[in-house]
Symmetry: C2
Subunit: 303 residues, 2 copies
DNA sequence: TAAAAATACTCCATAGGTATTTTAT
DNA sequence: ATAAAATACCTATGGAGTATTTTTA
């Protein structure tokens, strides 16, 4: 009879493509893993792995089995969560993922709120880009993720927490800096600076102003918003700043102007996503409320 | 860590509502099952079962866990089938369900065809009414079912095999017996006799002639078509006969007339259904072909 | 007091570890 | 010759059995 243990080992083998490293990943010895894989092959009546000196690759059957194994293992994780879900609200372990353009501004307030209202919650936080967070959520190594919604991922449930307007960051001397800003004016403006590819803030900003002429974009290898703002302050162009970052980056530099856009104000919507199959929906709904409270709108600070 | 073993035991407990009988069902001793359930409760951090002298009932948490456990166990079964699916076509064990109004007429030919073309198939057949077949298919104790399609069950895939026209069975003296029959004439006909409630042929016939006045129906506790035909022969009314049954029941009785309906000919569609998650789709498609070949249209025998 | 489940204990199957051999490049 | 996986052999954990006690209606 197939065991969960065997499924875990096969999963490790699928990930590593190597018996030795798979064993290490699974926390057992290489022979132990080899034996379990072999037993599985006997049980299923076909080869799962192609053994090579360079390592191990899964056969088509092996890949199919591994894919199903992953789903089953996620289902098992969710099952284990049921206990916590039926305990008090937001108690026990919870692995949360957050995108980088939100984490530093939201987490301080959120963690404080959780500490105060749900001291028995054992929260672990991972900060990464959306694509990776989605993968880890699907795989079950994260329980929920704070991202820009909608994600549009089947199997996930999303709940919006708050809208985060984009502000225009322009050099003090720019003509844009002293007028009420509307989005279309960007078309005639200086160059629009954005974060490097793969960073979700880039896509969100692009989506917010889809009318922008692609040829006038400039990408920088900058991972951080503050680097980008340095460039703006130096007169290299303009950029969009999520207002959630205001408190940290604002008026520090006199060469910078931050302005709200006139309606329709471009914004991204920040929300929480979790697996449909997760039994902790109540926890997550409560978490969304806390996220909303922890997202301070300090928009009075700007014109 | 939760084990599949524990999920199986919980499932048995959910089914029986009794530790002793659950243990018997699982093929182990009562203390062994008790201990696994207890370990599970510790692992999940909550009570799964309410212990009473009269037996055991699941708590809300227990029901939720049991429901998920069932899904996981079905996924494990399907995974085990993968091996057979990657072997030759239609090899290894296969549990097939068939509705009673099809089984006796279809199976002889089908089994012969399977024996000839797929001698390595280890087929087990269960004959039961649609509702039960659907349950067993969902639970994984059947791999595929031959039923009247469409079933409209989420999680199932269906493939039509053949259309089975309904014939009119009337007493030789009936005015219907000597005219080309059209369905609407049934409205002015003798009473329509049908099988007892729950028998799928009843629903199929009713669906085929939805125009019929409900008040003119008569149900009999008859489980078998031949009993029903005896009543028709005795002049008690008319009924619908699936043409697949022709070879067995036809012209044996001179008091009976079997007639085809004029267009649009009422019929039921017989097909195969299996779980979406089953890896043996290829097997099932091949089986559908064999079913089609095994369903002889002996319609020449009637006017 | 009777039925059901929990506990006590013993045993053994099997997963896992270490050491070593085989295999393929 | 080297790296990877399989094999051999031993150990120990934990699942299961029997016998018994506890619980509750």
């Amino acid at each position: 009879m197939i065991s969960l243990r065997q499924l875990r080992y096969l999963d490790a083998l699928a990930v590593t493509g190597h018996f030795g490293r798979a064993a290490e990943l699974a926390g057992i010895s290489q022979p132990a893993l080899s034996m379990q894989i072999r037993d599985m092959e006997i049980e299923l009546g076909g080869a799962l792995v192609e053994r090579k000196t360079s390592g191990a690759t899964l056969t088509p059957l092996g890949q199919e089995v591994a894919a199903r194994a992953r789903n089953i293992l996620v289902a098992i994780r969710d099952l284990q969560d049921l206990g916590h879900a039926h305990g008090g609200l937001l108690e026990g372990p919870l692995a949360l993922g957050v995108i980088p353009s939100v984490a530093p501004y939201l987490l301080p307030g959120l963690l404080a709120g959780l500490q105060e209202h749900h001291p028995r919650l054992k929260l672990t936080v991972r900060e990464s880009v959306t694509r990776r967070l989605v993968e880890e959520l699907a795989a079950g190594s994260l329980d929920a993720i704070i991202v820009s919604v909608p994600l549009g991922v089947e199997d996930f449930v999303e709940a919006a927490a708050f809208d985060d307007p984009f502000l225009l960051a322009a050099p003090a001397g720019s003509p844009l800096a002293d007028r009420p800003s509307v989005l279309t004016e960007l078309i005639e403006a200086d160059e629009l600076l954005l974060l490097e590819d793969g960073h979700c803030l880039r896509e969100q900003a692009l989506q917010a102003c889809h009318a922008i002429d692609q040829s006038r974009l400039r990408s920088f290898g900058a991972t951080s918003l503050s680097t980008l703002l340095q460039l703006v302050a130096a007169g290299q162009g303009v950029t969009l700043v999520p207002s959630i970052a205001l408190a940290s980056v604002a008026a520090a530099d006199p060469r910078l102007r931050l302005k709200r856009f006139a309606d329709p104000e471009p914004h991204r919507r920040i929300g929480l996503a979790w697996r449909k199959s997760s039994p902790r929906e109540q926890d997550f709904r409560a978490l969304v409320d806390l996220i909303r409270q922890a997202a301070p709108a300090r928009l009075e600070a700007v014109a």
